[in-house]
């Protein structure tokens, strides 16, 4: 036993591996785990059965367990925990792990493994889990010695939540779970080498302040790193915006970091971002990227990306700096720590917001804002998907609302039209773009916030990818509301086929859809359907007021496309603003064909 571990009577008894794992989880503050049992993890499930500290949520598919843990993590800031069995349990979790890696979500995933003496023998339900998950986790472990088990679990939590967060897998052979071994407490565990830098270099902050103070066309570009850094980072962003009066845009993952109602907020940027945000990026002279990674959805064509700006990037991950876009000043540090330092330096230098200097820049931005790029042709004949989300947003005011999405057009419309006023309210699969993310993620959010209104904004195609989780909602009486924008198409696929592939709608029609009302009924939920514009509000109200899980099937315009749009290979200032703009006219259209 590690020196310094407090021993009480019960601890003096040697624990078996499964008990060590659970004790370590409890000591790490874990309250909930999402999992699915199987042969290799039976000892863990047996130990779970005999305790009351940790609640286990039985999902219906291991992928959903990881997404649920992601939703839990992103809405609380805690580490999400997953427990699955060996072989197919682990391989089913891979999509979720990759999703968590790309969106930097802290998750610890315990996977069962065949006993150590069988590893490599192609045993029943054996898979090389550490081999398979190596490229889709931040780190992974195979525990082959029970004396290292407790330490490994603590270390896994440290790695998952420190620096740039991410998923960590601990592969647990069955013999390790039944062997007895010592326990060591979290305090006794310090990682040998892994110490991510969180405090920014003071000279970097000084140089950033210098650049920002001289900016005539500044832009703040914030991303998911702000959310990951914690609510304090969002507060500091608001303070920075207040102090400087600079315009601010946010990535898909960053929505909520600055209240959408703030007049300095330009909306989301990128492929389906606003006209004003993308143009402000393109025309800026000083750009401050905060916890954002210059993703290809954000930058458009790289050699035309913000060509005249001095770029400053704050990121906790040094490999995010200068990866896609060369920046003039890279600052490695935690967002909250860096913003705090930056604000302090600006104040110490006596910086005052210079409205006069910024006036021409704001005039330019306001001119673009006046273009009202999110406008759509509203009608009383058919429900426009944008209108449905606007109404959903309006009618959920006053509720403690969390929103998750699946992936596709509905996701972009949700990002554009659902206005987030604070962080941790918006769960979406940004990096990996995982259809089927939203329902299990909403489930995880609802577990963490039992009294909140949790809505999964979905498409009729995406929702079917993890629809089995309706059964989990029923089992735990989780009142998640599934709001399906049903356009009978894989909408984003159809949109690209229309714009880029001559309207040949290859395999994108949602043939043979289930009756979602009956489907809800079969899962013990309430099903609602609406197709008349005049009945939309009432249906949304009924959805909110109905206790328990609800599926709302909203029949929306099947031909609607998501605009504005920067076609692949085009630059920020070459947006398609609506159906009247045709693709192929932008620069780089040909190279864009091969891009996703």
């Amino acid at each position: 036993m590690t020196a310094g571990t407090t021993s009480t009577g019960s601890e003096a008894r040697a624990l078996n591996g499964a008990e060590i794992v659970l004790k370590a989880l409890v000591d790490q503050g874990v309250e909930v785990i999402f999992g699915y049992p199987g042969g290799a993890v039976l000892p863990l499930y047996d130990a779970l059965y005999q305790q009351n500290s940790i609640r286990h949520i039985l999902v219906r598919h291991e992928q959903a367990a990881v997404h649920a843990a992601e939703g839990y993590a992103r809405s609380t800031g805690k580490v999400g925990v997953v427990l699955v069995t060996s072989g197919p349990g682990a391989t089913n979790a891979v999509t979720g792990l990759t999703d968590a890696l790309l969106d930097s979500i802290p998750v610890v995933c315990l996977t069962g493994q065949v006993p150590t003496h069988l590893i490599g023998n192609d045993a029943f339900q054996e898979a090389d889990t550490t081999g398979i998950t190596r490229p889709c986790t931040k780190h992974n472990y195979l525990v082959k010695d029970v004396t290292k088990l407790a330490r490994t679990v603590h270390e896994a939590f440290f790695v998952a939540r420190s620096g740039r967060p991410g998923p960590v897998v601990i592969d647990l052979p069955k013999d390790i779970l039944v062997a007895s071994g010592p326990y060591s407490s979290p305090e006794a565990v310090e990682h040998k080498t892994y110490r991510p830098r969180t405090e920014p270099a003071p000279e970097g902050i000084e140089a950033a302040a210098e650049l920002l103070m001289s900016a005539k066309k500044p832009i703040l570009y914030g991303g998911g790193g702000i959310i990951n850094s914690g609510p304090e980072a969002s507060r500091l962003l608001r303070e920075l915006v207040e102090l400087t009066g600079f315009p601010c845009t946010l990535t898909l993952m960053g929505l909520g970091a600055l209240p959408a109602s703030d007049p300095r907020f330009l909306g989301m940027l990128g492929m389906h971002g606003t006209y004003e945000a993308n143009h402000a990026m393109h025309d800026s002279d000083v750009m401050l990227a905060i916890g954002a990674r210059f993703d290809d959805r954000v930058t458009g064509r790289l050699n035309a990306f913000a060509p005249h700006s001095k770029k400053i990037q704050i990121d906790i991950d040094p490999s995010s700096i200068n990866k896609n876009v060369r920046v003039d000043l890279g600052i490695v540090g935690d967002v909250a720590a860096s913003l705090r330092a930056l604000i302090a330096v600006l104040k110490a230098r006596g910086y005052k917001r210079d409205a006069k200097m910024l006036a021409p820049w704001w005039a330019e931005i306001d001119r673009r804002r006046a273009r009202n790029c999110l406008a759509y042709s509203d009608t009383t004949k058919i429900i426009k998907p944008q209108y449905a989300i606007e109404r959903l947003h309006a009618l959920t005011q006053g509720y403690d609302t969390y929103v998750s999405t699946e992936v596709g057009q509905h996701q972009m419309w949700a990002a554009q039209f659902f206005k987030f006023e604070g962080p941790n309210r918006w769960m979406t699969s940004g990096g990996l773009g995982t259809m089927g993310y939203g329902l299990p993620a909403a489930m995880g959010v609802q577990i963490a916030h039992p009294d909140a209104l949790v809505i999964d904004i979905a498409g009729e195609a995406s929702i079917l990818m993890n629809i089995q989780e309706m059964s989990t909602l029923a089992q735990y009486r989780l009142p998640v509301k599934v709001f399906i924008l049903n356009n009978q198409y894989m909408g984003m696929v159809r949109q690209w086929q229309e714009l880029v592939h001559g309207g040949r709608y290859s395999e994108s029609y949602s043939e043979a859809l289930p009756d979602f009302v009956k489907l809800a009924d079969a899962f013990g939920a309430t099903g609602l359907r609406v197709s008349a514009v005049s009945e939309l509000d009432d249906t949304i109200r009924r959805m909110i007021e109905t206790p328990g899980p609800v599926i709302v099937d909203v029949a929306v315009d099947p031909t609607e496309n998501c605009f504005p749009m920067i076609p692949s290979g085009a630059a920020h200032n070459e947006m398609l603003l609506g159906p009247e703009d045709r693709p192929g006219t932008t620069s780089g259209a040909e190279e864009g064909m091969v891009l996703v």
Partner: protein, 171 residues
């Protein structure tokens, strides 16, 4: 896509890692997964007491890619130190090759002559073959191999580069 106009550079990087299962797979997986080049890679335990291994790898890419490779290596959890020997000043690079040359008569004598010029040692010998051991820069090895090839080169094994900075500095 931004056209890559920057010059391709060749860098020798030393990486100190925990000697634990899978660590080499992490490094190699990083290179294959992200499309970086590996021209040479050697690895062996260098400190038994602390269980540390040293990986020496030679890679090539634009300066931005080289910088990215180092950042990506550094963020692997079992990696202790990443040092770019090419960037950090003068260093020595050595490689070892075992070269089997078969032949009799004049060819045998010629092989021995060349070996002497290159300070290659004979580590195995039969009446119709030699195994030479030669160390030096990769260029020297290339030159020797090129010369013995027509004489009767039948087999070749190279270690890849081991490298170290000159002077008193420590990794």
């Amino acid at each position: 896509m931004a056209p890559i106009t920057a010059a391709i550079e060749r860098h020798t990087i030393a990486v100190v890692v925990d000697n634990e299962p899978g660590v080499l797979a992490r490094v190699i997986g990083l290179f294959s997964g992200r499309g970086y080049n590996i021209e040479s890679l050697t690895v062996a335990e260098v400190e038994r007491s602390t269980s540390l291994s040293r990986i020496t790898l030679v890679t090539s890419g634009t300066p931005m890619v080289i910088e990215q490779i180092k950042a990506q290596l550094s963020r692997l959890v079992p990696v202790h130190t990443v040092k770019d020997l090419t960037e950090d000043g003068p260093h020595v690079e050595r490689e070892l090759a075992l070269i089997k040359v078969a032949g009799t008569g004049e060819r045998r004598i010629e092989a021995l002559r060349l070996a002497e010029i290159f300070r290659a040692r004979v580590v195995d010998s039969t009446i119709s073959s030699f195994v030479f051991e030669v160390t030096g820069s990769s260029e020297k090895l290339d030159a020797f191999i090129e010369l013995v090839a027509p004489i009767g080169l039948v087999e070749l094994a190279r270690t890849g580069i081991a490298a170290m900075s000159r002077g008193t500095g420590q990794l």
